[in-house]
Each structure stands twice: as C-alpha cells, then as structure tokens.
C-alpha cells in the first residue's frame, strides 16, 4: 500500500503502449506531513495513522518529478505544497487551470494536485470536485488497487456518481458554408453546448481530392456567449485561383481520449464548399450561375441527367477497395 501511490494515481497496469507521461511528482517533508494528515483525516483510526506513517517514513527517498508534464503552475504548486502552503498552492493551481490551451496531461496533473491540496485542507467536497474533473479529462484514470480502502472508496463513489449523473451530451451546431472567396481567411462560427472538460473542437479541412486533412482548433468566439466558438482557416490555405475549386471539411468535438462526442460530417462524409476566384462576387451558390452559363446543360439536359444517375450508381458501387493481408503477432 502506498498513500503516495494512491494520491499520485496510475494508469491500469500492463497496457504500456501509452504516452510516456508519468504523474510522479516529488513528495518533500511537508508533503509527507500532508499525506500523513490526509491519511489521518481519511482514516481516523490509530492503525490508519500507523499506516500513513509507514507510507511516508522520514528517511524515504523523495520521488522525482522530472518525468511529469511540465507546467510552471504545477511545479510551483508542488513546491508550495512541500512547504505546507496549501492555500497558496490552491490559488496557483486555479491560475494554472485558467490558462488557455492547457494540455490534457497538464490538466490531469493540476487537478490531481488540487485534489491532494484540498484533501490536506480538510475540504473533501473540493477534493471531490477536483477528482471529478480529473475523471472527466481522463476517464481511464485509476487509483491503484493497493491504495487505502478509504481513498479507493472515495474515488469509487466519485466515479459511480459521474456514471449515474449521465453527463449531458455535447451538441454542435454550425451553419454550412456554400462558397468562399479565395485569398481570404474563412471564419467558421459554431455553437457548442455542454462542452466536456478536456474536450476539444476542431475544424478539419482539405482541398477536394487531397489525401489528408489539416485542422484548426475552435476557440471561444470573442464577445460571444459561452457556447459560441469560432475557427479560422488561414488565407494561405484558401488561395485564389483563376478557376476556383472545392474544399471538403468537417467539424468534430472529441474528448481527451479522442472519442468523438459530436460533429458535423466526418472524414469519409465531409461537407463541401467552393472557393471562388478573388474578386468574383460570392452569391448564394456558384453552382446556379454555372448551370445557366453552360450551354451544354441546355443542349443535353436530359442525357446528362440519365448519364449522371448512371455514373453516380457506378461510382457508388465501385468504390476503390483492396485486400489487406495481416499477420497477427503474439510474443510467447
């Protein structure tokens, strides 16, 4: 058993393909004292105190923090906690959490430390809040089986509560793009409700026919409501060309584990818009004008309709496919 392990947390054992991120942070003398007191709070029995003392012996080697996610706030909070400045550490952690573009790993670390600091301050409700958010950001985060029963119970209760609460699904709504003038950036506004903590919204785009998508993140729209987001495709990605061209795009909200929570279109069924030459008036649809301007349409409208239908059926039924030989490997 190790209270340090319990508070440090771990990923499930044996599935070691994951990122080389370690959540090991050092526990100095004051943190050991904090752990002792936390254990005393959670396990208010003499054997529990003895167990906590066994966890943090005064001559135990201090675990190193060099492998953890790098965040100035997390490091500062860690130092403050080592000095026993838990209230100050909470403020620093709150500052860290309010930073823009906090990575998932840093987020997890900040909430983990927040939970620890709040536990030390005797505020179980706040600790619970922090662990709830940690679980939202990293649903697979696990307390080791060897952790004290009280801590595991608290953590299990939090997980069960989250499961029962059935967090409202994320909804994403955005007006489709029809046409866009080349050579200018394209700002796409979206309304995302009930955005999950740690989730990210992205706009994926590519020129029609290209193999891979590029992406830009959605950010909070300036001056908009909390649910208003916007993403901008830079102008250099939409150059003006004499003949115009089509772009494919889709929107996606994914959680920290890259699970799709909401979206419009996807990689295989993208949405489309047309990039018109610079200076060309952008009407409701360029397709309408092209339709009228093309004499061939009038000349062979019926034939084109029939041919188009046949072609569409042929294309749909002859999607390029291949066979993929695979060797399954097991190391004995």
């Amino acid at each position: 058993m190790s209270l340090a392990q319990a508070l440090r947390g771990s990923r499930p054992p044996g599935r070691n393909i994951g990122r080389p991120t370690s959540l090991c942070y050092g526990f100095g003398p004051m943190a050991r004292l904090a752990g002792l007191l936390s254990a005393a709070l959670l396990l208010p029995t003499p054997p529990a105190l003895a167990a906590a003392m066994a966890v943090f012996p005064s001559d135990a080697p201090v675990l190193l923090a060099q492998l953890g996610p790098r965040s100035p706030e997390a490091e500062e909070a860690n130092e403050l906690m080592e000095q026993g400045e838990f209230e100050q550490a909470v403020k620093v952690l709150q500052r860290g959490l309010s930073q823009p573009d906090v990575s998932d790993d840093v987020l997890v670390e900040l909430y983990r430390l927040m939970g620890l600091a709040q536990l030390y301050l005797g505020n179980e409700a706040r600790a619970r809040e922090a662990y709830e958010k940690l679980l939202q950001a990293r649903p697979d985060y696990e307390i080791p089986h060897s952790a004290p029963p009280k801590i595991r119970e608290l953590y299990a209760r939090i997980k069960e509560d989250i499961r029962k609460r059935r967090v409202r699904p994320v909804t994403l709504d955005a007006a489709p793009i029809d046409v866009h003038e080349g050579g200018r950036p394209l700002e796409l506004n979206a309304r995302i409700e009930d955005m999950a903590l740690g989730a990210k919204a992205k706009l994926y785009y590519r020129r029609a026919g290209a193999q891979s998508y590029s992406s830009v993140d959605f950010g909070r729209a300036k001056g908009g409501a909390r649910e208003d987001y916007s993403a901008t495709i830079p102008a250099y990605e939409l150059p003006a060309e004499p003949r115009g061209y089509d772009m494919e795009y889709y929107l996606e909200v994914a959680d920290a584990a890259q699970r799709r929570l909401a979206g419009k279109g996807d990689a295989f069924n993208p949405l489309h818009f047309r990039v018109t030459p610079a200076g060309e008036e952008v009407p409701g649809s360029t397709k309408a004008s092209a339709w009228y301007e093309n004499p061939w349409v009038w000349a062979g409208a019926g034939a084109i309709v029939v041919a188009g239908t046949v072609t569409a059926v042929a294309i749909a039924s002859s999607q390029p496919a291949g066979n993929l030989p695979v060797t399954i490997r097991v190391n004995p």
């Binding site: 599935r15 070691n16 393909i17 697979d140 996606e252 990689a267 030989p325 399954i328």
Partner: protein, 182 residues
Amino acid sequence: MKAAAWWTMGLVALCLFSGCGEAPVPGTGSVGFDVYVSAAAIDEIGGFQLALVKPGVFSDCTSITETCLKNQLSSTNQLVPVKDDQGNTVPALFVPNALTTSGPVRTQDTTLRDVPAGKDYFLIVEALSRQNPPRLLGASCTQRIEVRTGTNERVQAEPIVFFTDQGGGADGGLGVPCDPRF
C-alpha cells in the same frame, strides 16, 4: 564453474522475465519486457478480432488497447467496413485462434477483404478469450495503415499486449471483463 554459469543464466532469465529493460516507445506498441504471456494465456485465446479505425478518430495508439475498442467508439461508423468470409460487410473481422510458432513469436496470417482504399487507418487486433461471452485478453494497435486498390503488402501487426493482471480481476477471470465483439 558450471554451477556459476547456470546461476548467471538463471539471473539473466529472471531479469528478462521480471520486467527489466527500457520502457516501450509510445505508439509503436512495442512490448519491451513488461509483458508476461504464459503458454496458458495463449491457450485461453479463442480468436482474434481485427478492426480498422478511420482516421481522425484517435490521434495515436495511446490507451486504445487498455480496454475493448467497442467501448471507445461512439458508433461503428468510425470503423472501416470489411468483408467476412461469407462476403458480408462487418465492422470487424473475427478469426479463430490458429497461431503458429514462427521463430521467437507466434503468428497467424489473415486478410481483410474489400477494405475501402484510404490511409492513416488504425489497425486494432484484440485477443478474445474462449469464454462466453468472451473477454479481452490483450490487444495491439498499429498506426498509419494505408490501403490501396488491389492486394496490398502484408502488414505486420504490432505484437499483442496482454494484460499483466491476468486472473487478478475481481471475478477471477483473465483479461479485461468487457465483451469486445461488435
């Protein structure tokens, strides 16, 4: 002298089988020496489930193999459809365990048929137990799979990572208590 040599070899073997060595490189699915796979565990494999995940669903192989793939997808639309032996379109292909020993590893060849051409697919291979319902004994994740029309080059899937807490679950079963089948 002989005894000393045996002791040395024994210690080296003990080190190898007790998890010494470098941590695996992320995304490669390399198992290093952290994986324990006993012959008994291999005997427990009822079959393998192969699935191709569309690009954009996962950013890398991180965490994918920690539990059933099925539980990590919002719908089977996130998988690339494949054909089974009967020509039916299925989200994932199941093949019974027919592992053969090939040098230091055990392998099994199979083919995913009529896979829509594309790139940046993720190939997930899950080892299913013989139980009913089956449990997830282990899994592997291979990134950047590209499929072209016709017959493609053989893909060597990353070695399957088995769970080290085999038999240690609350219900005493092997692997992870989730049913991987789609």
